[in-house]
């Protein structure tokens, strides 16, 4: 056997090994993501329960835009997305650049404390915030005792305050998480750039916008996509903090789809159609963000 053909067979062998290594992971994703997705698409054109399901064309799709609760859930989810994600990312970026300062003392202590909320489980923190903002909760107790309120305010049963409590809770839980990504990204930026900028007379705000933001752009894009994706799928908070209330004023899309599938009389076809709309929204938003991310290069 010549040397080159021996190399060919070795390459072939390695090529095969690669396929064998990635097969379990790739097949699982195929059967657990793509196959169900295809089934959901087919389901979305059907109506009825169990074996009695029959085709109904586009009915499920036309129905959802007349469904006031579903429209409300889209509005709520986008409200959370538009208000919470930018505030969170900017706050995380500011915190990370402050903590990146070499002159700062107790850096580790601050970092750990700000990251601490991420150690709590999602249901747990939703329940904590529900208790904090309850009528007999500590927030009302403090506000009444220092004289801001005459009597407890029901945060969770008023439309706007319920939504804002969800936003506050999300900010509390996720800001530190994103901050850690930015801190990790900042490790890859030479600190001497900041010192050089300082010598040249750049203010802290200037170096934030001219150095930190441009160099962290890939990380900012990553966190923006992750947070958008997470917010569009919000479920635990809506269920355990406000239970979607008052009167569905704070319900999220995932929560409504869950209710439609497993809480009310199950309507899998309609629920699948709604879930497909979320899929399309996620894809469009991720595409837009990547486009915007590319442009500024």
């Amino acid at each position: 056997m010549s040397k080159s053909s021996k190399k060919m067979t070795l390459n072939k062998k390695h090529n095969m090994t690669g396929w064998i290594f990635l097969a379990p992971g790739a097949l699982l994703i195929f059967f657990m993501s793509f196959v169900p997705m295809g089934k959901a698409l087919m389901l979305s054109f059907k109506t009825g329960v169990g074996a009695a399901m029959k085709s109904c064309g586009l009915m499920n799709y036309t129905r959802m835009f007349q469904d006031t609760v579903f429209v409300q859930s889209i509005k709520n989810t986008f409200f959370y997305l538009i208000i919470q994600v930018p505030i969170m990312l900017i706050l995380a970026l500011i915190l990370a650049s402050i903590l990146n300062n070499k002159d700062l003392k107790f850096k580790g202590v601050f970092r750990t404390m700000i990251f601490l909320p991420c150690a709590t489980s999602l249901v747990a923190y939703a329940v904590i915030f529900r208790s904090l903002f309850a009528n007999n909760g500590i927030i009302n107790w403090i506000l009444v005792n220092i004289g801001i309120l005459d009597q407890p305010y029901s945060f969770l049963t008023n439309t706007w305050s319920a939504r804002i409590v969800i936003i506050i809770a999300l900010l509390w839980r996720w800001t530190g998480y994103n901050m850690v990504f930015y801190l990790a990204g900042l490790q890859n930026i030479e600190y001497s750039i900041y010192e050089a900028a300082k010598i040249d007379g750049a203010s802290a705000i200037q170096s934030f916008f001219k150095i930190t933001v441009p160099l962290l752009k890939p990380t900012i894009l990553l966190t923006a996509i992750m947070s958008t994706n997470g917010t569009l799928q919000l479920f635990d908070e809506s269920v355990n903090l406000t239970d979607g209330g008052p009167a569905n004023a704070s319900i999220t899309m995932s929560h409504y789809i869950y209710n439609m599938s497993f809480k009310y009389v199950p309507n899998f076809g309609y629920a699948a159609a709604m879930s497909f709309l979320i899929l399309i929204l996620v894809a469009i938003l991720a595409f837009l963000q990547m486009k915007v991310g590319d442009k500024r290069d």
Partner: protein, 268 residues
Amino acid sequence: MTKGKKIAMYTFLSIVSFISVFPLYWMVCAATNKSADVVSGRLIPGTYFLENWKALMVSQDVMGSLANSFKYAIALTLLSLVVSSLAGYGFEIYHDKAKDFVMSIILLAMMVPFVATMIPLFQMFSKAGWLNSTIGFILPTISTPFLIMMFRQSARSFPHDIMEAARIDGLSEIRIFFQMFIPTMRSTYAAAMTITFMNAWNSYLWPKVIMSDTKSQTMPMVVANLTQGYVTDYGVLMLAVLICTLPTAIVFFCLQNAFAEGITGAVK
């Protein structure tokens, strides 16, 4: 830095830190106090822990749910690390056009929201008899695009010379993976482990869908159950929240530095 600026910075950081820690501090206080005291604004840890503990154990099967949560989360973490890292390694080390194409399709799966697959998965799993079972809990998330991507990224920094040397020494490809790759990539594994364990422990929607039997329910489900009554016993509720939070907090603190290191590698 001027003195004024410094003071402003420390004040800002202190306020943010206080807001971050306060709800958790309040949880610990509530878990050790009588509900009546919690409601009247007591903000120091109390001595009512044992009474809350007894009341909690009577009302919910906490030990059973804890055991379930640990069983599901550990099984998922172990399997997920092996399957995802092997795939990420396979995609990178033996990469060619066909594999890169498959990878780009797998990345598309990242966009698929869980609600979009939840109903067909529920139907498939109930047909297979996997409701209320460990396999039902873990199967959908053993392999995730995010972890595969993370390991693919880290395999890029795996020195090629080491591989060649190992091959010349006659090590098989699978042994190179287990004996050379895994030990070198310890921090990536630690980060992946933290993420997977926390996601598994925290997951709520999927277990709520498939764990209808109270014997199979998880700890977050127990916490959620406790809020369903008309009168909330804050002492008991917060004790359950505390128990639910401790495992993830411990994992997180043990692996905090490795987690940050692994993330640093992933965002490079």
